[in-house]
Symmetry: C2
DNA sequence: GGTAGACCCTCACGTAGCGTCAGGTTCAAG
DNA sequence: CTTGAACCTGACGCTACGTGAGGGTCTACC
């Protein structure tokens, strides 16, 4: 694997190197979530560094509790911002570590009590179970807010883009028409296409990614 | 909830207190894994402290990666040793914490590189993914050994039981036959049944609990 | 005592994310 | 060339619940 995009890992090698299963990687390919860079003549999958980078993000988001469909939607929107996934992942790890340390301490107290032939209180056990479910609860309210805000910001960016650009496009279009340019003129076509693009950002932009 | 076995938690209360779902608790009841202490006249489930203690062990063993059937088998065998589950659980938490700290450190380096507009190496990403799968790998070799040793010890107990009892059974059987007793005699039938039981411990004892 | 909403029951269909297997082709080392 | 490992596609199956339907119970309040 070189630092450019030369494909060098077959599916088995990638699976072994990452600890994932071949079945998992094929599953992701089937879903269009992680497609190989190319295939050999025989149909073998070849993965390059871009796929590895994307795979990191997939697995990290899985660990954050997102379903595969959600991950696909998110990655297709966010492919320019790899840093945000890493940041979230770090935050999640720190949360887990903290909760696990608390739970471990709690369990050590339970173990000490059992060692002394004292039955721990029921509350101890209930707290321990609750600690376990807290650890496995993937989204804190803060994280959900963050993701929701992210979606909103993308929406807001689109709105601002349209607001900034539309008057300029309109003014240029008007200038062209006052100059007597026809609708087949390349510049007019260009302006019209961009205007259609901006309009399309509003109608095709929201995919409704609520989790069942 | 008092310190004796008075049932006081209904299923919703137990679910809320532990962070588990009502559905999960019902599911465990259906499986006979965690049965309520009693039911009200209306059929509501009532859980006491004994159930809470058992539930702790169930959830802990789930976190260790055992399936529910395996947990049932293990708990039915080990109901006298709650301390071992706590111990294993502590060990698993410490393992996870250690791996998560390593992964967090690794990710922070990746984030720093991305911050500086440097693309991290592919090896960094591969290592990160591997770190994630290591964390989720439930059984360390030591734990597998421990569980295997546990099963072996149970097996050895069965062997000893047969070795101790068989000669006595055989001697009694011989005495009965030298007395002229027929095979239909109750005592002879009893002895034969016990001998069949002991033999069956060898052939029916191993459930092949390998995990796919 | 009556009411209303939260909580409980059983039953049962459905699912996400793979695991496993079958049957066959390709690749790489000896 | 041979052989065994690695790869392909296709497809059935699984675990541990989630969800909804339809109905009864419990508890607090009027």
């Amino acid at each position: 694997m070189t630092t450019d995009e030369t494909p060098v890992l077959r599916i088995g090698a990638l699976a072994k190197r990452t600890g994932l299963s071949v079945r998992t990687l094929r599953h992701y390919d089937e879903l269009g979530l992680l497609e190989p860079a190319e295939r050999t003549f025989a149909g073998h999958r070849l993965y390059s560094s871009a796929e590895v980078r994307r795979l990191y993000r997939i697995v990290a988001l899985r660990r954050l509790g997102l379903g595969l469909a959600e991950i696909a939607a998110l990655l297709d929107r966010d492919d320019a911002d790899p840093l945000s996934v890493v940041r979230e992942h770090v935050a999640e790890l720190e949360r887990r570590i903290r909760l696990e340390q608390e739970l471990r301490d709690r369990l050590e107290r339970i173990a000490a009590a059992l060692d002394r032939m004292h039955e721990p209180s029921v509350t101890d056990y209930l707290d321990a179970i609750e600690g376990m479910t807290m650890i496995e609860r993937h989204y804190t309210p803060e994280q959900l807010d963050y993701l929701a805000r992210r979606r909103t910001e993308v929406g807001e960016e689109a709105i601002r883009e349209v607001e900034d650009e539309w008057p300029r496009l309109y003014a240029e279009m008007r200038a062209e028409m006052q100059r007597g340019a026809g609708v087949t003129e390349p510049r007019v076509q260009e302006l019209a296409a961009r205007m259609r693009e901006l309009v399309g950002m509003f109608h095709g932009g929201d995919e409704g990614s609520s989790r069942p």
